[in-house]
């Protein structure tokens, strides 16, 4: 059961420069745990633990094929052989604050 995971430039130091890696798992959560075995540190850039549960980091977008997994099941999203998972850090920012941010 192989799932292709496409890695954004900023995370490629965790994959030895590879722009795509393969992993296994029945859900995204399992898939990231599997990837972390061969690519230490990758999972921590995408997943954080809050209050005892794992969740996707807020400003990292993860897609299953064409869908944003926030609209599927987040980390619980089931993944199937042949699927492609894409990680893209959000393009975001802004002056912030109320004024003079």
């Amino acid at each position: 059961m192989a799932i292709e995971v496409r890695i954004p430039t900023i995370l490629r130091p965790h994959t030895g420069g590879e722009k795509a890696v393969e992993g296994e798992g029945a859900t995204l959560d399992e898939l990231f745990a599997d990837l972390d075995v061969r690519h230490p540190g990758l999972r921590a850039r995408v997943v954080e633990e809050k209050g005892g549960t794992n969740q996707l980091r807020r400003f990292v977008n993860v897609y299953l094929d064409d869908e944003d997994v926030r609209f599927l099941g987040g980390l619980s999203t089931p993944v199937a052989d042949g699927a492609t998972v894409t990680i893209l850090p959000a393009v975001a920012g802004g002056a912030g604050g109320v004024a003079g941010g």
Partner: protein, 138 residues
């Protein structure tokens, strides 16, 4: 140094003025490794806010795939500040995730004068760079 052509420069400024008082955002794509900002791509600010911007995740996926197909990368990532200076905020630095890009900040706080500045942001460090506007890219 950031070198861009006048047409692209004006397109960025026009976009920032048009979306004021919300922050405007977008990229200029260019061939991978070329450092040439060739293709202006304005994006919608999914936050629609005067103090924050974010690309819509689905639009971002479509754009990143398109660039991949065309062997391009985001050479410039721009956004505007509508009431503050054209300098990267803490939030801008925190979320800068394209170490090879020129981060362009435009300020529309003054209706008469535009501020247009460019930076490299790598590993949390901001380095301002000169902006050179030319009639056509060499």
């Amino acid at each position: 140094m950031l070198t861009l052509d006048r047409h692209t420069y004006e397109a960025i400024v026009t976009h920032a003025r048009r979306d004021h008082p919300d922050e405007a955002c977008g990229i200029v794509a260019g061939s991978v490794g070329s450092d040439r900002p060739q293709r202006f791509v304005p994006m919608a600010n999914a936050e629609r806010s005067p103090t924050f911007y974010r690309f819509d995740p689905r639009e971002q996926l479509a754009l990143w795939r398109e660039m991949d197909d065309r062997d391009e990368e985001p050479v410039v990532i721009y956004h505007s500040h509508t009431a503050t200076e054209a300098y990267p905020s803490r939030t801008d630095v925190k979320y800068a995730a394209e170490p090879g890009a020129h981060y362009v900040l435009v300020s529309t706080r003054d209706p008469q004068e535009v501020e247009f500045r460019s930076y490299r942001i790598t590993e949390g460090v901001v380095a301002e760079e000169e902006v050179q506007v030319v009639s056509a890219l060499p």
